[in-house]
């Protein structure tokens, strides 16, 4: 039933990799979104899943631009997409200032809204939109690794309509 194994040329989709390296500037976010959306569409995700992936990646890259590189546009962001049979993984790497992801608590949205605090929503969104998210922070190399499964993990019935041959 699942036909994602076949790429556009009838080739296996397993272990396909797409990579974008781009200057750390907010005016490149649009290009990054476009890149990720196109690859996601290509492998069979529908609009709904594509817009979730697009937003999660935007949030991660906006954080790199603002926090990791603090708007130093001489730095680069690496966006790598890895596709295998089950899932679509995006790895965003920077070589800037790291942070301790354990210290970033999921905000309590009620409390958050009551305080009308500005910012602090990005990581919450990323966690909510993607199926898996992992922060790998090392000296001089920080990564956010986010995945979306081809069969929707969150819905009870396996949502095969998310998958189509391309």
């Amino acid at each position: 039933m699942i036909t994602t194994k076949e790429g556009g040329d009838g080739l296996p989709q397993a272990k396909k990799k797409y990579q974008l390296r781009i200057p750390s500037q907010t005016d490149n976010l649009e290009l990054i979104r476009e890149f990720v959306s196109r690859v996601a569409r290509k492998v069979g995700f529908k609009d709904d899943a594509i817009s979730k992936i697009e937003l999660a990646v935007d949030e991660a890259c906006a954080n790199v631009i603002e926090h990791a590189y603090q708007k130093n546009a001489k730095k680069n962001i690496d966006v790598v997409i890895q596709i295998d049979y089950q899932k679509f993984t995006i790895i965003i790497t920077d070589h800037g200032r790291g942070f301790d992801p354990k210290k970033i608590k999921q905000p309590d949205m009620k409390e958050y809204l009551a305080q009308m605090r500005v910012g602090g929503l990005g990581i919450y969104l990323m966690r909510t939109l993607m199926d898996e998210i992992d922060f790998n922070v090392q000296p001089k190399r920080n990564q956010v690794i986010m995945s979306k499964y081809f069969l929707d993990k969150k819905s009870k019935h396996s949502d095969q309509s998310e998958v189509r041959p391309n």
Partner: protein, 119 residues
């Protein structure tokens, strides 16, 4: 040409801001500028139309969060209208509907300002 535009129209003491294009970390400062200008002009009854907005990220939502207290403190409000599903979902995920008035239609939002309301 940054891919984002704010068009402004006035109707008595109510201001309508129509957003066009995408509102992300790159373009959010443009919206900030537009809202700051309204506050400086003491025009605090604000209706924002999302009809032609194609995309929003948390940087865009943050702008509304950043102004709502001040606007309400001055007897005004920021009412949000005409969001498509995709954009509404982002607001909804973050619980904004409990904090902001989100209406389907511009004219209703304008109308709801018109009712005299004691400060």
């Amino acid at each position: 040409m940054t891919g984002f535009e704010v068009l402004r129209a006035e109707n008595g003491d109510i201001t309508l801001l129509r957003l066009k294009g995408y509102l992300d970390a790159h373009t959010a400062p443009d919206l900030e500028t537009a809202l700051q200008r309204l506050i400086d002009e003491k025009r605090v009854k604000i209706v924002v139309s999302f009809k032609e907005l194609t995309y929003i990220s948390s940087a865009g939502l943050g702008v509304f969060m950043g102004f709502i207290e001040e606007v309400r403190g001055n007897g005004g409000d920021i009412k949000l209208t005409n969001m498509n599903q995709k954009i509404f979902r982002v607001f909804d995920l973050l619980g904004f509907p409990t904090l902001f008035e989100i209406r389907d239609d511009e004219s209703h939002a304008v109308g709801s300002f018109a009712q005299p309301k004691s400060r």
